[in-house]
């Protein structure tokens, strides 16, 4: 870059020249001529996201090392001006060739994309599950003694429970009750579920679906002294009314088979892998036969969670398709840029894709009668398989199948004419190992541009493959205008997978994953794993409530003055709560509790995050401050120049945490960043290590008043978290950082690759749309899928 060009952009020549001169004299020895650093001086290249006032301040206060007075005031400002335009900013580095030009990079499927794509691929061929109302109404008309309504029940939270009197052990005989149970946690004692049922023998079937919000191993547990079977993610087939001793869901293997019992209450558990954002069929069958008593509890444990009774929050009476999910261990995706993206193809990744492809291919071959209606004696088996495989490939490749590909499918089947199942297995492997499936954005034929757009939209919104409606619009090349794309994106936003993907963003933004919240038992005796699980739930529900409300307002996330609490959390966090006086009928239900003005500020003061960013026995203003700096006010931080561990016993125990941290970070090299971090962290000192509001730390009053210097060099007074939240919702930097983070999560590409002003435009729209997060998602999808 020459400065003449900069001049044309409105560069202040004189300032630039002055800065350049000072830099050569005082800085270049250590930092190198282009800020690249050198071996004898400062190793790390000078670049970053800071703005000129910020750089200027650091130079003024710390440079040259040991003699900061040599360069201060206007001189420091000129140097900052020079280096910013010459090599510090990303734009300058790109011009100099130090940083690659932004471009849309070829990407393979991420692990999540892989799992969803294969699951949706198979689901696309799986028939819709049918409600069993038919079987039941038949039953009623035959028996004529049902006690409840005849119309099929509308979708409701919970499971549909059908209660039968039995005859001859567990033979479901006459339907007595047809209702919705919000949770399965019953102790019938020696009696019967309802007055008009016989106590000595009865049977109950609970049916519906389960929505998973986490990916990973889920544990299920049945507690009963009677007989029970649990099916999870089975093939929904019409089951017969009778139970008897046959496994009633034909062909499916029960996850837990506790059918045979010796009358003692026992626990049977089993583990299965589920992928977030999907509904899974669930069925629990239960019978009592002459046992002394009857009870049944259905519990589960989500990844990282604790055992709890499954309830209406995750259960629905709506039927669901079986989803193909399998726990193939994948190497973690690259997160070096702060978001998961598919940029490396390691040997382990190849092995994982092999395993996944084989497992999926087997699933397809084994379930061919369901998926394609092809039985072993179907007469035109070859032709039907070929057609099925082509349809499968079209969905997997997210575009029409080429002649060559179609020919390969036919040839592979023909080569295996004596073992068509084996041939189909090979075809499935061919499809699932093909680069056209494994890479999300390989260039397609010019005639298939609509498919490219559809594919991008599906990946951005769902981390998956296009559905029928998208393929249709691709085929008609109907994504030509922004509005058409917007319409599709709006439609797709209502899908549970879009919800799940956006939830994934908040997991990442709020750094919810893999947090260790274990606290000192003596100091915080009530803060156990169940409490942590409740807090996590409270935070996720809060985010969910805000994001999926009509306003979907980003500001509410930061500023709302309430917490969602159940009774257990209230005992810790609501000082007005007296559990002996006030007991809600559903004590584990989360309800909204408002706090006094300025007392709580959305996610900033959510006890889960305040606890997460604390030590086991004290707060950590540095951890809290770093989180706020990076994720809320949107400023970049470099790693510390030296790793310093906070050791509480090195300080005078009379000091407050604020005083200790101030002492620890007072060194000028620390203060380059800590001058930003500390004030933000200190403003949150009004909350202890588990996020309870406090005015005292030990015997000392807590001081939360701080002065924060913005990236533009302004100084602002903060008294509490609400002040920080107010600052963030008014800060364009904060908005831009949020928009960029959402973009990364959704698109997994650099927004600059879509034009240099992409972020500015999106941030402007975000503001114009009253900070509506759902609309932001849609606008990002439009940018990513727009025809180029």
């Amino acid at each position: 870059m020459t400065w003449h060009l900069l001049n044309a952009d409105g560069l202040d020549n004189a300032r630039f020249e002055t800065g350049a001169e000072i830099y050569r004299q005082q800085c270049a020895d250590c930092h190198g001529g282009d800020g690249q650093g050198n071996e004898t001086g400062y190793n790390d290249p000078l670049f970053g996201d800071g703005k000129i006032p910020e750089i200027s301040r650091v130079i003024d206060q710390t440079m040259p090392e040991g003699e900061p007075e040599l360069c201060s005031g206007d001189q420091a400002e000129a140097v900052a001006y020079y280096i910013y335009h010459e090599f510090y900013s990303l734009a300058a580095r790109r011009e100099k060739g130090f940083a690659p030009k932004p471009r849309v990079e070829l990407s393979r499927l991420t692990v999540d994309q892989h799992r969803h794509s294969i699951a949706d691929l198979i689901a696309a061929f799986t028939p819709e599950p049918r409600y069993e109302s038919k079987g039941l109404s038949d039953y009623r008309s035959r028996r004529g003694n049902a006690s409840t309504q005849d119309a099929p029940l509308a979708e409701q939270a919970g499971l549909r429970g059908t209660y039968f009197d039995s005859r001859g052990m567990n033979k479901a005989d006459s339907l007595k009750v047809d209702r919705v149970d919000r949770r399965i946690d019953f102790d019938f004692g020696a009696g019967s579920p309802t007055a008009d049922m016989k106590p000595d023998q009865f049977a109950i079937i609970w049916d519906g679906s389960l929505f998973a919000t986490e990916t990973g191993d889920h544990d299920f547990r049945i507690r009963t002294e009677n007989g029970a079977r649990l099916y999870v993610n089975h093939d929904a087939v019409e089951s017969r009314g009778r139970l008897r001793d046959d496994s009633s869901v034909a062909g499916s293997v029960a996850l837990i088979d506790a059918w045979v019992s010796s009358g003692q209450r026992r626990e049977e558990s089993a583990r299965t892998f589920l992928v977030a954002g999907r509904s899974y069929p669930l069925r629990l069958e239960f019978f009592k036969y002459l046992d002394d008593s009857a009870s049944i509890t259905l519990e589960w444990k989500t990844p990282g969670g604790v055992w709890q009774v499954m309830d209406h929050n995750v259960l629905s009476t709506a039927p669901a398709k079986r989803s193909f999910v399998v726990d193939i261990p994948f190497p973690a995706d690259d997160r070096s840029l702060g978001y998961e993206r598919g940029r490396s193809v390691s040997n382990q990744w190849h092995q994982a894709t092999n395993e996944f492809a084989v497992a999926a291919a087997r699933e397809v071959v084994a379930r061919l009668p369901i998926l394609a209606g092809i039985e072993s004696d179907t007469p035109d088996r070859f032709d039907r398989m070929e057609e099925f495989a082509k349809q499968f490939a079209r969905r997997a490749f997210r575009r029409p199948v080429s002649e060559l590909e179609a020919e390969r499918i036919a040839q592979t089947l023909a080569d295996n004419a004596d073992n068509l199942d084996g041939g189909l297995l090979c075809v499935m492997l061919m499809i699932l190992k093909s680069p056209s499936f494994l890479y999300t954005n390989l260039p397609m034929d010019p005639s298939s541009r609509g498919y490219e757009q559809a594919s991008t939209l599906a990946m951005v919104m769902w981390d998956s493959i296009p559905d029928d409606a998208l393929l249709q619009s691709a085929a008609e090349d109907d994504l030509k205008t922004d509005q058409k794309i917007r319409d599709q994106a709006n439609r797709m936003l209502t899908h549970s997978q879009a919800r799940s993907k956006l939830t994934g963003f908040f997991h990442q933004w709020l750094e919810i994953e893999e947090r260790d919240l274990v606290k000192d038992r003596d100091l915080f005796p009530d803060f156990d794993t169940a409490m942590v699980a409740d807090l996590r739930s409270s935070l996720l529900r809060f985010v969910d409530r805000v994001v999926w409300s009509k306003r979907s307002d980003y500001r509410e996330l930061l500023q709302s003055d309430y917490l969602l609490l159940n009774d257990r959390l209230r005992t810790l966090y609501d000082p007005s709560f007296d559990p002996t006086l006030e007991r809600s009928p559903l004590s584990d239900q989360f309800r909204q509790f408002k706090f006094a003005k300025q007392r709580r500020a959305g996610v900033l003061t959510h006890p889960y995050l305040l606890s997460a960013f604390s030590y086991h026995n004290s707060t950590s203003p540095v951890h809290r401050g770093v989180f706020l700096t990076r994720n809320v006010v949107g400023r970049a931080l470099k790693p510390p120049t030296e790793a310093v561990t906070f050791q509480d016993d090195q300080f005078d125990q009379g000091l407050t945490m604020r005083e200790k941290v101030t002492q620890l970070t007072r060194d000028s090299s620390c203060m380059a960043c800590h001058s930003v971090i500390n004030p933000l962290g200190f403003a949150l000192e009004g909350y202890d290590a588990i996020g309870r509001f406090r005015t005292k730390e030990g015997d000392s009053p807590v001081d939360t008043k701080t002065q924060y210097v913005t990236a533009d060099g302004d100084s602002i007074a903060f008294q509490n978290a609400a002040d920080i939240a107010k600052f963030a919702v008014d800060s364009e930097d904060a908005h831009r950082a949020f928009v960029k983070a959402v973009f990364h999560h959704l698109v997994k590409q650099d927004p600059d690759a879509y034009g240099p002003d992409t972020l500015d435009v999106l941030t402007g729209k975000f503001r114009d749309n009253e900070f509506n997060i759902q609309k932001l998602v849609v606008e990002i999808a439009v940018v990513a899928a727009r025809k180029t």
């Binding site: 471009r103 990079e105 070829l106 393979r108 052990m169 567990n170 007989g227 001793d245 046959d246 496994s247 034909a250 062909g251 293997v253 029960a254 996850l255 837990i256 088979d257 506790a258 059918w259 045979v260 019992s261 010796s262 009358g263 049977e268 558990s269 089993a270 009592k288 036969y289 002459l290 046992d291 399998v326 726990d327 940029r343 193809v345 390691s346 040997n347 190849h350 092995q351 092999n354 395993e355 084989v358 497992a359 291919a361 087997r362 072993s376 390969r408 073992n419 068509l420 199942d421 084996g422 297995l425 090979c426 492997l429 061919m430 190992k433 093909s434 680069p435 056209s436 390989l442 260039p443």
Partner: protein
Amino acid sequence: MKRSDRRNAVTSRREVLRDLGIGSLATLPFLGGLNSLAADADSVASRKRLIIMFSPNGTLPGEFWPDAFENQLAGKESVQSGLQLKSMLAALEPYREQTLMLKGVDNKIGGDGDRHMRGMSCVLTARELNPGNIQGGSDNPAGWASGISIDQEVRNFFQSRETSRTRFGSLEFGVAVPNRADPWTRMCYAGDNQPLAPIDDPAQMFRKLYGGAKDRKSVASVLDHVRDDLRHVSGRLSAEDRAMLEQHIEHVHQLEKDIAAAEQQSELVHPQPDIDPEIELVNDNTPEIARMQIDLLVNAMANDMCRVATLQFMRSVGQARMRWLDIEEGHHSLSHEPDKNKVAQAKLKRINDWFASQLALLAGKLAETPEPGGDGCMLDHTQIVWVNELGKGNSHTLSDIPFLLIGGGAGFRTNRALDLKDASHNRLWLTIAQGLGHHELTTFGSERLCAGGPLDLA
């Protein structure tokens, strides 16, 4: 969750993990026992195996038991004549000299559960059922068996010793076993309340035994196309993106080399049997399924993947309709017909004749396979026991269970029949376990039924 179900539930995943971890896990030797084979010649010479075959619903005593028993005759007479097999067991004639029939062995287990339940779930466990919620045709309802079955006892014994340890220890084969778990469908137990599910799908068993190699071949077969596609598309990419695909191609190449290496390492002493993976698990395919399962069983043993196996035909109270024998009625219903119903008797004879022929198929395969690294044939080193849950179908008796033993595994004197006169079957299992080398076992199942100790069968 019962252990058996858990085992099944994870099998497929674990198979895939093990067999497809191409670079790493698949390089484990496929033949767990081969090491000990090479290392310890003594252990080869003394290698012993146990196979228990089950068929349901009782036998026809008159057609099953010989007219004369050795211990009822003068010594010389019996030695000269040897065992005389009746026509229902004609299929076993080639193995008559290695056959020992034991009448008068009773399942004396009382307690809860009807006799079919106790017959099935106590035949190998030889102890009472737990109380429970499963109601049979009579008696109190009952639960699972309360202890380990003899096959698992012997398996654990073999697995506890370096010289007899194998990859699987035991394999539980089924033929036409319905998809349900209750005391009528389970005879093998890992312990109290721990039924083991037999695998009745040959394709599933095949994958369990040999799946990895097959998957490797399937994956290998598509790699050429993958490489072509990668080359084809990389032409349209920028240099930076092309680098990623070139890396991909490199990995594909590596994968091919790994697959080739894994193929070499997994060559079997006895090549894997030919299994039609498309076989449908329907009643009418039962003979074909049985043949495959027997092939797989003998093959697994020839490759020393296990030294204990069970082969369970149907289940107690099974209603198999053996149309391949021109029989339309369900087996269990037929078995209830009174002795005077000659038509039913003839059909039951055909049914049991068929089961005998399956046993003959099993014995024959073992007889024609030379003992790997040892003397004689595999049958010389294998103790086959054919059992039933009842003595007789229409009486539901648990006495005179048709015990028929073939082979040399336990070192019994064969080519004869004995009437042991009300011996408990606990004692027979004890004798067999000791014959297979498990000398520390001094009682099995209900202790009170072990009085008298092992039987003298040598």
